[in-house]
């Protein structure tokens, strides 16, 4: 089996948002939407800090679909539009999506974004990978782990473009892969473990 995932080195993450825009470009994401966001943990302001000056700390936390093994979004989808594919990725069949937004409510990571209106792009044209399907009004969308690239053995665009080399892509079912080794490291952790969704995306320092 294959279980594709991304590991994120929180120390090497510069908080630069290149991943957010690389994803936006690659996947033709319309105005006002992102599949990948970079949060400053426990802060309302980007580049904020936890603590009281000068005893401060800061963690940038890139968040997109966690491609959970026990995905809450998949469980609640009434049409089977959200599915887990043979590569271990959580994907959306846009033709089957009826726009009920049950998945959006179920996802504990706020990782899904909905086309409330017909998508608008201020460029006036579609951009990115020509293989990426179009989404229309009333359809949910989210990180596909760059399905079109990873199907062909390429790494996701966010990994390809990361200036800090903070993102590692690989197969968790291959015990010798770098990502599997990192998964076994002492600082490896997932978000909201208590929710029981078993995210495949994980973080480490």
């Amino acid at each position: 089996m294959t279980k594709l995932a991304i590991a994120i080195d929180l120390h090497r993450c510069l908080g630069c948002n290149t991943c957010s825009l690389a994803c936006k470009m690659q996947n033709n994401i319309p105005d006002g939407m992102l599949w990948n966001r970079v949060l400053t943990e426990n802060c309302d302001i980007f580049d904020g800090a936890e603590g009281t000056y000068p005893n401060l700390s800061r963690t940038y936390r890139p968040v997109a679909c966690q491609h959970c093994t026990n995905a809450a979004c998949k469980r609640v989808c009434p049409t089977g539009a959200t599915y887990r594919d043979e590569m271990g990725r959580i994907e959306i069949d846009y033709d089957k999506c009826i726009g009920c937004r049950m998945c959006m409510a179920a996802c504990p990571f706020n990782a899904r974004t909905f086309n409330w209106n017909e998508p608008v792009r201020s460029t006036g044209f579609s951009y990115g990978d020509a293989r990426v399907p179009e989404r229309h009004k009333g359809v949910m969308e989210k990180c596909t782990l760059c399905k079109e690239r990873t199907d062909e053995g390429e790494e996701p665009m966010c990994v390809h473009c990361c200036p800090g080399d903070a993102r590692i892509f690989g197969d968790l079912d291959d015990p010798d892969s770098r990502i599997s080794q990192l998964r076994r490291s002492s600082t490896a952790h997932v978000l909201l473990e208590e929710k029981g969704t078993q995210p495949q995306v994980f973080y480490f320092n």
């Binding site: 992102l34 949060l39 201020s122």
Partner: protein, 801 residues
């Protein structure tokens, strides 16, 4: 401004609606393409795609090389250009944002002339022919009325990217060229003398950092301002190097450091003086190094501070001028008398008071100890607010070495005492043996990543055509009365001078002002003629430029034809030159100019041609540049004695032979002005812009909007809340923006990412409040005075309060 779509917290349930946005793709028909057919593997239908390779803004400090995909005449993808050396395979959010930015509403789309009053923003579209003729007529009129040499012309790196400008020489303009920037070079002003180098870029590179035990980063926020080189910092950390960041703000780089040293803005010299005092008091200096490799044992007149030694006449090989050089004496321990410093077998005393021909002398080192007697840790804590124990600990770690001081060009560089800070770095490095050997050094590292640079050719003009550079732009605004017409490529006036009211007054005194720019920058409303420049991704020719960066020759290949009615800066220059009857003096097109640049005897680029660059997808590594570290910097210098010379005798008249404490001009602790304006206002670069560039980039606006930041304590004292619309003000003026409350900001200060366009700040500008008081000492320094932008006091209140 659209609501931020990126900040939605992890578990918040705000279902975000798609923001309405207008289409901005008008005028895109008829585009033609060059470049090769895309060969992306896999199932993507790339049959209609072309790939082109180019470089991005130099001003980001990373010189990223791009692989651009064009489909149906539109730029649809920007990725890092594949490179065997991963360090130079880069793109960041600003690069990717160009997909939207170049088509965005912020673009200037056609030539326009002013029809209302200056400042009214009322323009009408005109043809390029009319625009070129307007410029030509205005420049000729200026020459006829005042004589030649009364036009000011200056280029920013955003609006001028590719070919070295020729128009300023053709119109015999005054121009602002380095070193008279007024910024970025303040620390260099203080570092250059000690080791006889420029004082700017370190003589080794960031790739040597893993060989250092400690790297002290001062006024350097590489995680935002030289993002790609953060990898070098992180790799060094992983190799065991301790990174210490000195910054008033808990910057993104401070957050990545092993240790953060917070301090009051503008007090960096005091921090270093405390460190140096601690090193001297506790014998932490490298005595062997100091005696062998520095001038600190040399004798000076105890009363005057001048060197005592033998005089000789020397002739400048270039100018032929003669001057007197004094070869210093040292006190020889063996013979107990003075001897020439360079006499064989001499054993110099490091400390002491001696008589030389009846004159009481001391060693430079003894003077240093005397001068620094008061700079105790407690004194330094009082000035900087940094705990004495931390200053001592950092001094001890630095002294242990090998250590590097990495400075950027912000922070203290925007205070008058920036040269004193740089001088401190040179002094502490000399004292502790942290200059010359592997894993040591100082200067700018996070930009200058290669020791290799090729000498390129250029486009020769007849001798009579040349610029003059009598002063920096800051002085033109303040002091010059002989400029009567101006042309700017980019928003020079709002960037290169403080205190906007004075700049505006100067602009209004001119007979004619033209602006060539890509985006609708803040200065647009104040000019008579606006010309649309195309982005670096657009070009009418197959090649828009070639340059040397990061140890490569890079080619700016055509990605798109110029959008809207824009032209490249080269063709704007050429159009004006033609209207003045001077067009024949310029290259006929970009290809001819590029070939001239590649015409060079430098063996590092032997055989490099446009064709070879194209074959290599736009980048060729310099020949012979494989050894990335290069030789050790070593212990031989072009200083008068050949040694490290941290004692600057030529600065005696300013009391700065050794770096001595000087209060900031405005933000000093006891300034009575603080009663009205208690907050120090600091500006610095952010990852979301390059100075003002990208202010109008829609994708980046989604991530970040202009705002001022205050510590929660200061916000609460003023009854202000996060998100309030506020006015920042002082006696010079005011601006309005949004307030964000941030723990990362030092209490007593306000912070704002520098420079954005006034249309995003209710028509106001940060420069309305900034300090323009220049230091007279600066005119005695190699890079001139620095504009103290961050040495500014303000108060903040809610708009309308």
């Amino acid at each position: 401004m659209t609501k931020s779509i990126a900040r939605t917290a992890l578990t918040r349930r705000g279902f975000l609606k798609t923001a309405a946005a207008g289409m901005a793709g008008a005028g895109l028909s008829g585009l033609t393409l060059t470049g090769c057919a895309a060969t992306t593997p896999g199932a993507e239908d790339t049959s209609g795609d072309t790939l082109a390779y180019t470089y991005h803004n130099e001003h980001c400090l990373c010189n990223c090389m791009f692989q651009c995909t064009v489909r149906d005449g539109k730029l649809v993808k920007i990725q890092p250009r594949p490179n065997e050396d991963h360090r130079y395979q880069n793109v960041c959010l600003k690069g990717i944002s160009e997909i939207q930015n170049i088509y965005g509403e912020a673009r200037i789309q056609q030539p326009m002339k002013r029809v209302g009053e200056r400042g009214s923003g009322e323009f009408e579209a005109i043809s390029w022919d009319e625009a070129f003729q307007m410029c030509a007529d205005a420049f000729k009129a200026c020459d006829e009325t005042y004589g030649e040499g009364h036009i000011w012309m200056q280029f920013s790196t955003e609006a001028q990217q590719r070919f070295a400008p020729l128009l300023p020489s053709l119109v015999k303009a005054q121009t602002g060229i380095p070193p008279l920037n007024g910024y970025d070079m303040g620390q260099g002003n203080g570092q250059n003398q000690a080791f006889a180098w420029s004082g700017m870029f370190a003589q080794n590179t960031i790739w040597e950092w893993p060989m250092a035990r400690t790297v002290l980063m001062v006024n350097c926020n590489v995680v935002e301002t030289g993002m790609m080189w953060s990898r070098g910092m992180l790799d060094a950390q992983e190799a065991g190097t301790k990174i210490i960041v000195v910054d008033p703000r808990f910057s993104p780089t401070a957050a990545k450091a092993d240790e953060w040293v917070p301090l009051t803005a503008g007090t960096d010299p005091a921090l270093f003086m405390g460190m140096i005092h601690h090193i001297l008091e506790n014998d932490l200096y490298d005595r062997e190094h100091v005696i062998a490799h520095t001038a600190l044992p040399h004798l000076i007149d105890a009363a005057t501070g001048t060197t005592v030694g033998t005089s000789r006449e020397v002739q400048d090989p270039e100018t032929g001028e003669t001057s007197t050089v004094v070869d210093p004496y040292v006190w020889d321990a063996k013979s107990n008398t003075f001897k020439p410093y360079n006499q064989e077998g001499v054993e110099p005393e490091l400390e002491g008071t001696f008589k030389v021909n009846g004159v009481e002398c001391v060693t430079q080192f003894t003077k240093l100890k005397n001068d620094y007697a008061g700079y105790t840790l407690e004194w330094a804590e009082g000035i900087t607010g940094t705990p004495a124990a931390q200053i001592a600990q950092v001094a001890e770690e630095y002294a242990k070495g090998p250590s590097i001081i990495c400075n950027g060009v912000g922070g203290i560089d925007k205070f008058q005492a920036s040269d004193i800070a740089g001088h401190c770095y040179a002094l502490i490095a000399s004292l502790t043996g942290n200059y010359g050997k592997r894993g040591t050094g100082l200067g700018i590292y996070c930009y200058h990543t290669s020791l290799y640079e090729a000498a390129l050719g250029g486009w020769p003009l007849p001798e009579e055509y040349h610029v003059t550079a009598p002063m920096g732009f800051y002085d033109v605004v303040q002091k010059s009365d002989d400029v009567h017409a101006a042309m700017f490529f980019g928003d020079i006036p709002t960037q290169k001078a403080a205190n906007w009211a004075k700049t505006e007054e100067w602009l209004n005194s001119l007979d004619f002002v033209a602006l060539a720019d890509i985006y609708k920058s803040s200065v647009m409303d104040y000019v008579d003629l606006v010309l649309p420049v195309c982005s670096k991704l657009e070009c009418p020719d197959s090649v828009g430029g070639v340059k040397n960066a990061n140890g490569y020759i890079l080619q700016n290949q055509k990605v798109l034809d110029p959008l809207f009615e824009s032209k490249s800066d080269f063709y704007i220059e050429r159009g004006i030159a033609e209207a003045m009857g001077l067009g024949d003096l310029m290259p006929k097109d970009g290809e001819e100019y590029a070939r001239a640049i590649l015409t060079s005897d430098d063996p590092q680029i032997a055989g490099f041609t446009l064709e070879k660059l194209t074959e290599a997808n736009g980048a060729l590594k310099l020949l012979g540049s494989e050894d990335e570290l290069g030789p050790e910097v070593g212990f031989e210098y072009h200083t008068p004695t050949g040694k490290q010379e941290p004692y600057y005798e030529n600065m005696l008249k300013w009391g700065q032979a050794f770096p001595m404490w000087e209060e900031p001009n405005e933000t000093y602790a006891d300034n009575p002005l603080r009663e009205k304006y208690p907050l120090q206002f600091g500006q610095a670069r952010t990852r979301f812009r390059v100075h003002s560039a990208y202010s109008g980039a829609g994708w980046i606006q989604d991530l970040y909007e202009p705002h001022i930041e205050l510590n929660p304590v200061d916000a609460a004292e003023r009854g202000l809340s996060d998100g309030d619309q506020v006015e920042a003000f002082n006696d010079r003026g005011s601006f309005t923006t949004k307030l964000r409350v941030n723990n990362a900001i030092r209490p007593g200060s306000a912070f704002m990412a520098e420079s954005t366009y006034r249309q995003y700040m209710d028509g106001t500008m940060m420069q309305n409040v900034t300090n323009d008081q220049l230091s007279e000492r600066g005119y005695d320094l190699i890079f001139g005075p620095m504009i103290p932008y961050n040495d500014t006091l303000i108060e903040i209140k809610k708009v309308g309060a």
